[in-house]
């Protein structure tokens, strides 16, 4: 049985989605209903904690894991405060750490992320840190208590695909916690590629939210992620540089 368990929760669907760029957040409900997506990340900065006005939390079905993220945090300290705010507001104890102090490329700050992960894991949060793919940082995050690591495939929002493939492959090889590819994935085929490599899950936001038809694109991603996972489990045949003839020319020599 192929199981992905994070924070004690078993997840059947390995596509995680973001929520920040939709024209109408209510489409999230349709996506969840049609794909079975179980994890939705929400920027706490956009959530009205006073409970008034429209609230994105109303658009996240109860059966989903709400993954509040610390988008907007520029330091570990800000990320920690945002995470605590989220939990106090009833958003559960999962948190995706995002610490970004680079407004040009939006690259995550691994050092600050490691600090925040340590403090929040200690406080009982299920911590999923968004990171720049780097083996030492990933191992530090593991030691700090991360429930998974979330390396970027390409700079966030770029839809450029799995540009960090070689390093993500090493993280998958070396990490004992699940590796979830987050950011940069632009097409379902790229999500499938990450999954074939052994990624535990993919988080996709921009490619779905800014597609012509977000709902159909979410279905495409969900299927691609599932197909990639199946292919990984099926252990693809070895790729060779030359044709492998079924009637070898040297067969007459016997073995």
């Amino acid at each position: 049985m192929d199981r992905l368990v994070i924070g004690g929760r078993e997840l059947k669907n390995r596509l995680f989605i973001g929520s920040g760029k939709f024209a109408d957040e209510r489409v999230i409900r349709d996506i969840v209903a049609q794909t079975g997506v179980e994890v939705v990340t929400v920027a706490l900065r956009r959530v009205s904690l006073s409970g008034d006005g429209e609230n994105i939390l109303h658009c996240i079905p109860k059966e989903c894991v709400l993954l509040p993220n610390t988008s907007g945090a520029r330091t570990a300290e800000e990320a920690i405060r945002i995470a605590r705010l989220a939990r106090a507001a009833g958003c559960g104890n999962w948190v995706k750490i995002e610490v970004i102090s680079d407004n040009k490329y939006l690259l995550p700050d691994n050092n600050e992320t490691i600090k925040a992960t340590g403090v929040l894991a200690e406080e009982g949060f299920v911590v999923l840190p968004y990171m720049h793919p780097d083996l030492y940082a990933a191992k530090e995050l593991e030691r700090a208590g991360a429930a998974a690591v979330m390396p970027l495939g390409a700079p966030i929002g770029t839809n450029r695909g799995l540009k960090t493939k070689e390093i993500v492959r090493i993280l998958i090889e070396e990490c004992s916690v699940p590796v979830i590819v987050d950011a940069g994935i632009g097409k379902p085929s790229e999500a499938a590629e990450a999954m074939e490599m052994g990624a535990a899950a993919c988080l996709v936001n921009t490619a779905i939210a800014t597609a012509g038809d977000p709902l159909v694109m979410a279905r495409a991603f969900s299927q691609a992620v599932a197909a990639g996972r199946l292919a990984y489990l099926a252990q693809p045949g070895e790729r060779t540089e030359y044709a492998r003839a079924s009637s070898p020319l040297t067969g007459f020599l016997g073995s």
Binding site: K21, D24, R46, S48, G53, N103, K104, L106, T158
Partner: protein, 369 residues
């Protein structure tokens, strides 16, 4: 330490007219193929030749904006706290010499004004005042921030330039963004339009956004008041200024606004009018030069034009604006800083956004102050 002033100086003898006149549509096509634009690529997009490629620029600007910001638009509105002003800006209704009713909101009035705005659903606010020298003015502003904090999740200020310590005090009180327009980057035009008052000091104003970055504001918005001077060089220096700040202060969100001046007190008319087409070209060039920068569009522009400009790169709009002091609580208050052309209510703007496939965003940050 350096200053953006050095970059302006570097272009002191640059022949803008000559450069712009020599650009060909073919060069514009090459720029449109690039991911990263140099300053001269940006200037290429501000040339007459680029007008022939306006639609291609619009398509790319739209695509980049959707990619980086999604289908969302931030909404905010200004609160004018006071219109006493010691400056003599020839184009501004709050000009020291203007014969208007002067007023500074009391604490109770600020509270009521904030409540009236909060009732519309808005959670992001921009506080404005004229320039009044002395320590009391800063204390008053800080007190105002403390009053409105209860009602809003993001507070910006658009006031006279200050030093880093003053900005730090405001940030500590809960201000997260600074908006300060240079008005006009051309030194001689600046001197002519600001004949008296502390605003005469070009350098002090020019370096204010940088001091804001140093003080730790989350966001700093800059701009030139379009119409005061021939626009291509003004738009160019605005973009260059934004890029300078973003490269130097990666942690600060640098944004741009494209305020266009129509008319001012005493029959002041813009000396170098900017047409709708010019405005579109400026907007598109900004977006292509700085794909991740926020771009603000105010109610200075009429409703229909704002609807059309929306998909071209705008990320932030004001709504339900009233530029008079006490404008939300007092029907008599009618002498605003400038004429609001888009008079739609917050709800009407919100409905328009939804109809056009955008999510109106009222909150984008929790104050941790």
């Amino acid at each position: 330490m350096g200053s953006f002033y050095e970059q302006i100086e570097a272009y002191a003898s640059f022949d803008f007219a000559g450069f712009l006149g020599r650009v060909t549509p073919r060069q514009v096509d090459l720029v449109l193929k690039k991911d990263f634009l140099s300053p001269l690529d940006f200037l290429t997009l501000l040339s007459p030749a680029a007008l022939e490629r306006l639609e291609a620029m619009a398509q790319k600007a739209h695509r980049l904006t959707r990619q980086h910001f999604g289908r969302v638009i931030q909404l905010y509105t200004p609160i004018y706290l006071a219109n006493y002003c010691v400056n003599h800006c020839l184009y501004c209704n709050f000009n020291h010499r203007s014969d208007i009713n002067r007023r500074q909101l009391t604490e109770a009035e600020i509270e009521r004004e904030a409540e009236a705005i909060a009732a519309t659903g808005l959670r992001q606010i921009l506080l404005l005042t004229g320039e009044k020298p002395g320590k009391d003015a800063l204390d008053y502003l800080i007190r105002s921030v403390e009053i409105v904090r209860k009602h809003f999740t993001a507070i910006g200020i658009e006031v006279n330039p200050m030093d880093v310590d003053e900005y730090r005090r405001l940030a500590a009180a809960g201000v997260d963004s600074l908006t300060i327009y240079q008005e006009v980057y051309d030194r001689s035009v600046y001197d002519r339009l600001h004949p008296a008052g502390p605003k005469k000091d070009y350098r002090w104003r020019l370096d204010a956004p940088e001091r804001g970055c140093q003080a730790g504001f989350r966001a700093v918005n800059i701009g030139a008041l379009l119409g005061l001077n021939h626009w291509p060089s003004e738009a160019f220096f605005t973009g260059l200024h934004a890029s300078y700040l973003q490269n130097k202060y990666l942690g600060t969100e640098i944004g741009i606004a494209v305020p266009r001046i129509k008319a001012g007190p005493g029959n002041y008319q813009p000396e170098a009018p900017v047409t709708d087409r010019d405005l579109v070209q400026i907007l598109l060039a900004f977006r292509l030069f700085m794909p991740r920068a926020g771009i603000t569009l105010s109610t200075r522009e009429p409703a229909e034009l704002r609807n059309h400009l929306l998909p071209l790169g705008i990320t932030r709009m004001s709504a339900g604006s009233n530029t008079a002091v006490g404008g939300h609580i007092d029907d008599e208050a009618d002498e605003g800083q400038f004429h609001v052309s888009d008079e739609r209510s917050v709800d009407e703007v919100r409905q328009m956004l939804i109809a056009k496939g955008y999510q109106p965003v009222h909150q984008d940050w929790h104050s941790l102050a």
